[in-house]
């Protein structure tokens, strides 16, 4: 593994750890913290052995963690847009690390793209927060749509996992 590959992998894990530390409020249950660490462990393992499914796993893990924080009623700290931006940076740096194993990339272009994506996603989340503030999300229809979405998402996750493989 070349040095840039290692560096981007390390940066990705450090960003994930930073997100986990920063967004673990005192009120959060041990399960939230555990999910965070398991996600980081999966990311690190995937980067070490070269399994590209780790990138999707980190996205799923942190969103699951966010769902758990909401379920236990703990406050979301830091702001959601910051967490989104950090999550995007984790995904981007991890995918850069995997891409570097198989082909050359222009570091300036990919880093610029990562930062832009993170900022755009952060702005989108902030705007959505303004739009949905005060909306009731506990209705039956929402739950039914949620279960349907869960089935679709589960199918997609299985498909992604099957198509992922070792890189490099």
């Amino acid at each position: 593994m070349a040095t840039p590959t290692r560096l981007t992998a390390l940066l990705s894990v450090l960003l994930a750890m930073g997100l986990n530390f920063w967004s673990s409020p005192q009120a959060a249950s041990g399960l939230v913290v555990l999910v965070g660490w398991v996600t980081i462990g999966l990311l690190a393992l995937g980067l070490a052995i070269g399994h590209q499914g780790a990138v999707a796993a980190v996205a799923v893990g942190f969103i699951l963690r966010l769902g758990l924080i909401g379920a236990v009623g703990a406050p979301i700290v830091p702001d959601l847009w910051v967490q989104t931006a950090l999550l995007i940076l984790v995904i981007e740096t991890a995918s850069i690390s995997f891409t570097l194993r198989v082909r050359p990339i222009d570091p300036l272009v990919v880093m610029l793209r990562a930062v832009t994506s993170a900022l755009l996603a952060g702005v989108a989340v902030e705007m959505m927060q303004l739009l949905v503030s005060g909306t009731d999300t506990s209705g039956l229809l929402v739950r039914v749509a949620g279960v349907a979405a869960l089935v679709v998402a589960g199918g997609w996750v299985i498909r992604t996992w099957r198509r992922s493989g070792l890189v490099g």
Partner: protein, 429 residues
């Protein structure tokens, strides 16, 4: 040729769907918002377009080049539509470096990046090489990203284009001249008699002699007619025997490198004197090219010489092959570190067949690690004595040998060999 969704696109879609599902199932808006943001990025990326396949081909490359020289390689990129950022992996040989480029940017490890390709685009690369031998570029692997980096395409195209890199030319002013000459016109004075400019002797006129050869001054003072006999100018056959053997586990590649560099210098210098040149290389194989002249022949010799891959030769039939290749009136110059005990036997066999053999010994002592322990120092001393004995044995059968120290010019051992030959002739009277 393969177009695949990128790792990040898969991650965004997976994260986005899971976010929607968890958020809706748990009635929590936060995962839904994060998931939606991820899906928005994925959708924008997909809408940005898929990647085009780019084909790369080397259309201009040098036929040969001298080590350290910069030459141009032209690569043509073609695509059916407009392709986004493209990365090229040249699959170049070790030692070949892209120094600068026009139409693209050079990344590390001979990899290039082009911002976009629209139809056809030519890239001009200034390449530099370190080390002699055969160098190549291609087949080139192109990686093209879609405009927003959500799809990757990979294409391996073009053929491998290779060329020979000749060691930096060393002009040798002093060369070892062949003692025997062949029948081709050249610069050497032959020992035989025939039409030429060098006076050899006088003899009585015989029927059929050219009247222009009558020496009137002598004929006027003696009885009958006397004619001048002359030595014709001929050239010689020079056969280089390059020992590129490398025992596995040793790091003595520098010896092979020096042998090859000296052989290349000798080939080029002897070619200027119009000698017929031949070459036998002993690397993993025993390969030979018989004596010949001309630019094409010289190129063949250089290609064989620079294509040596250091290794251990299988000695079965080597002696027979070399003796067959080195026929009289060839002069054989062996470039060898004399590390293989079989080499002494081979040289002896060639000499016994009546061929003039000289040995330039590539000094290996500088490449060996210093003997720290007493037993190793003793072993090294015995090894040196053994080598001295081998040199003496070679000298005793009429094979002059000279040790070439890396600090000296290559002309030094050639001069030593010439001196040895002169003293040998004197001894023989």
């Amino acid at each position: 040729m393969k177009v695949t969704p990128s790792i990040r696109l898969r991650a965004y879609i997976t994260g986005g769907l899971v976010g929607l599902a968890i958020g809706l199932a748990a009635g929590s808006p936060a995962p839904v918002m994060v998931g939606t943001a991820l899906l928005v990025i994925a959708v924008v990326g997909i809408a940005g377009g898929r990647s085009q396949v780019v084909t790369a081909e080397v259309i201009e490359w040098p036929q040969s080049m001298i080590e350290g020289e910069k030459r141009t390689v032209r690569i043509r990129l073609t695509t059916e539509g407009r392709a986004g950022r493209t990365y090229l992996d040249l699959s170049a040989s070790e030692g070949l470096v892209v120094d600068s480029a026009q139409g693209c940017r050079v990344l590390s490890d001979n990899r290039l990046t082009v911002p976009s390709v629209d139809g056809t685009r030519d890239l001009l690369l200034a390449v530099d090489t370190s080390g002699w031998g055969r160098h190549h570029v291609g087949p080139i692997v192109t990686y093209t990203e879609s405009p927003l980096g959500m799809f990757d395409s990979r294409n391996r195209s073009g053929e491998r284009r290779s060329w020979v890199v000749i060691p930096e030319e060393t002009a040798l002013r002093r060369l070892l001249a062949p003692i025997e000459t062949n029948l081709h016109a050249g610069d050497l004075v032959s020992k035989s008699r025939g039409p030429g400019s060098e006076f050899a002797d006088l003899r009585g006129f015989r029927q059929g002699d050219d009247p222009r050869n009558i020496n009137w001054r002598v004929s006027s003072r003696a009885e009958g007619l006397w004619v001048n006999e002359r030595h014709p100018e001929r050239n010689g056959d020079v056969l280089l025997l390059v020992d590129a053997q490398l025992e596995s586990g040793t790091e003595l590649r520098a010896l092979v490198d020096r042998s090859v560099r000296l052989a290349a210098a000798l080939l080029q210098s002897h070619a200027r004197h119009r000698h017929r040149l031949g070459l036998v290389t002993l690397d993993g194989l025993c390969r030979w090219v018989g004596p010949g002249t001309g630019e094409l022949h010289r190129r063949r010799l250089l290609e064989q010489l620079l294509g040596v891959v250091p290794g251990e030769v299988v000695w079965d039939a080597v002696e027979r092959t070399v003796v067959r290749a080195a026929k009289r009136p060839s002069m054989v110059i062996a470039l060898t570190p004399l590390l293989d005990p079989n080499m002494g036997g081979l040289l002896n066999a060639v000499r016994r067949s009546g061929v003039d053999v000289s040995v330039i010994e590539i000094d290996a002592s500088g490449e060996l690690p210093e003997a720290q322990r007493e037993d190793r120092a003793l072993g090294r001393r015995i090894w040196r004595l053994d080598r001295d004995r081998l040199r003496d044995r070679l000298s005793a059968v009429g094979i002059p040998n000279a040790l070439w120290d890396p600090a000296d010019s290559p002309e030094v051992p050639l001069h030593q060999l010439e001196l040895w030959r002169m003293s040998w002739r004197r001894q023989l009277g």
